[in-house]
Assembly symmetry: C2
Homo-oligomer: 329 residues x 2
């Protein structure tokens, strides 16, 4: 089967699992927002990379469908809670949960999703279920650590690229990594295969987040589904911001960067300021540097992936991560 | 060993597990509030009832210490998030996490604790680990459902006693129930023993929550650690409120109850109003009815408990639940 067809087939089967949330359940104040976020679509990146990883080590993807649903559910928990913390009003082109309902409802529906994520995960039939759950636990812990760093960095004025990488490894990359590892475990991968999958996916995860940072100012708002420049408004230390603060040392440009990211003398970040910052990023090569970094981490990922002996598996995963990293929204 | 001594010994060993959180970890914005709540003490009710249940079916409590820590950690997650939703400023006599830090910090540290709860649980060596995790998952889901009902009932004007019981079964009783069941599973209980532990603990849980409702207006604020009348301020449909709305049909008293719990014409619930409502509860026998209900559920619990064949086990658990239910703070 052609890989794109396979992707669409697997996505449909993941969605079928997730349709569990479409049934009416009570209390409505818990299950309506849960249904709302779970039916809001998305590319189902984590479940698909899990299923492909399972197959890439010789496993049957059908055994991994519950775990695939589990990582997607866990991902949606993080979206709901992160959107509260980041004051995000839009997600996938629709109101965020706390915006449509309220913060309490968003807290609770996120919490509930964690319970359901484990419920689906535990339905996995595997002799390695304890290992699988161990990785899932690590993901929750590290995602929280990453989000905490992200919030700390909004205040911290001197974030280095290393600190930035540490943050996104936890906040974004970890869940993608454990998706691959869990897929591998369900496919009964040996230690070497697990190591390969881990190195592949953790680098893909980093590239994926730097791309996301780039798309914050460099994509069509309607397609991206989030507000353009949202990261700048929240004074996030994205790759772009950290790099710009590193390379732009003097003058008017530096003053503007400082006023948004360092001393915060600018109280409200307007569309005009976002536009000016975009120009600074472009003029100083920050966007190109970001694209180079994405290429670098993708290359490391693919170098690792090539060590898998299953040629079909290599091809599938490579196709998938190239699709992910060529997106422009 | 005398039971009280045993309780103190086990409590110390649970605390020793929980001392894991005293080490300095980063990011500080995640781990300082986690440390703060975990060292704030409490009676460690859920871990102790878990350890006693393990022993009551012939197991070795030492095998259950990780699971005991897990239920306590999960309980503390619910406290942090519930306190946000209930606007509670004090807990165990100290500032609540969102009050001391902020809502975002409280959301994240609660989330992080869920990850750690599973981490500890998974350290349990048991051939029945999948069953154990299944019950833990159910607890998270039902605690969220219960908390959602609780929030819905703040707005709903006609909450029946049945609806109230459904809510507290999920919100409070479920975690106590699965603590006993997990203790039993680690002690390798048979089906009948598990059923007995379940019936015992779910009824103890209900009695425990009705007592908590009672103590909201009938205890020493300093000892209780929470604000007197906090439930009335939040217009919670506690046992007392639901019962009072059922028995007080007319007159000035009904008008006052309505103004707080039904039409909410009273915008700020003052200390004076709390005092007046307390008098209404007393005069109309609501406090006595609450005490009778506590007795009723305790009796059902003990009737079930007596079916356990291990006499020592029965004695231990009975001692513990009697201690819990004789507390006046």
């Amino acid at each position: 089967m052609n890989i794109e067809k396979k992707y669409n087939l697997y996505k449909k089967q993941v969605d079928k699992k997730i349709n569990f949330f479409l049934d009416e359940r009570f209390p409505a104040s818990l299950y309506q927002p849960v249904k709302y976020i779970m039916e809001s679509g998305g590319k189902r990146i984590r479940p698909i990379i899990l299923l492909f990883s399972c197959e890439a080590v010789g496993g049957n993807y059908k055994n991994a469908l519950n775990a695939a649903a589990a990582v997607e559910i866990l991902h949606n928990f993080t979206l709901i809670h992160d959107d509260i913390m980041d004051n995000a009003l839009k997600r996938r082109g629709r109101d965020t949960v706390h915006n449509k309902w309220d913060v309490n409802t968003a807290i609770l529906s996120g919490d509930g999703l964690i319970g359901y994520a484990y419920k689906f995960l535990l339905n996995t039939k595997s002799g390695r279920i304890v290992e699988i759950i161990h990785h899932f636990n690590r993901a929750i812990i590290e995602v929280c650590e990453g989000q905490s760093y992200d919030k700390e960095y909004e205040i911290k004025t001197d974030v280095s690229i290393d600190e930035y990488i540490l943050m996104i490894k936890k906040k974004t990359s970890k869940l993608i990594e454990i998706s691959c590892v869990i897929g591998g475990l369900i496919g009964n991968a040996d230690e070497k295969q697990i190591r390969i999958l881990k190195n592949y996916s953790s680098n893909i995860g980093i590239a994926f987040q730097i791309l996301d940072d780039l798309l914050d100012i460099d994509s069509d708002e309607k397609l991206f589904g989030k507000k353009t420049g949202g990261d700048i408004i929240e004074r996030k230390k994205t790759y772009l911001a950290v790099k710009a603060l590193e390379v732009v040392k003097n003058g008017k440009e530096r003053k503007l960067l400082n006023s948004v990211f360092v001393n915060k003398s600018v109280k409200i970040v307007t569309a005009d300021i976002i536009e000016q910052i975009k120009v600074i990023y472009q003029k100083n090569g920050v966007l190109d540097l970001a694209r180079k970094e994405i290429r670098k981490y993708t290359d490391i990922a693919e170098y690792n992936l090539a060590k898998l002996t299953n040629e079909n598996g290599v091809e599938m995963l490579k196709w998938f991560s190239q699709m992910l990293l060529s997106r422009n929204y």
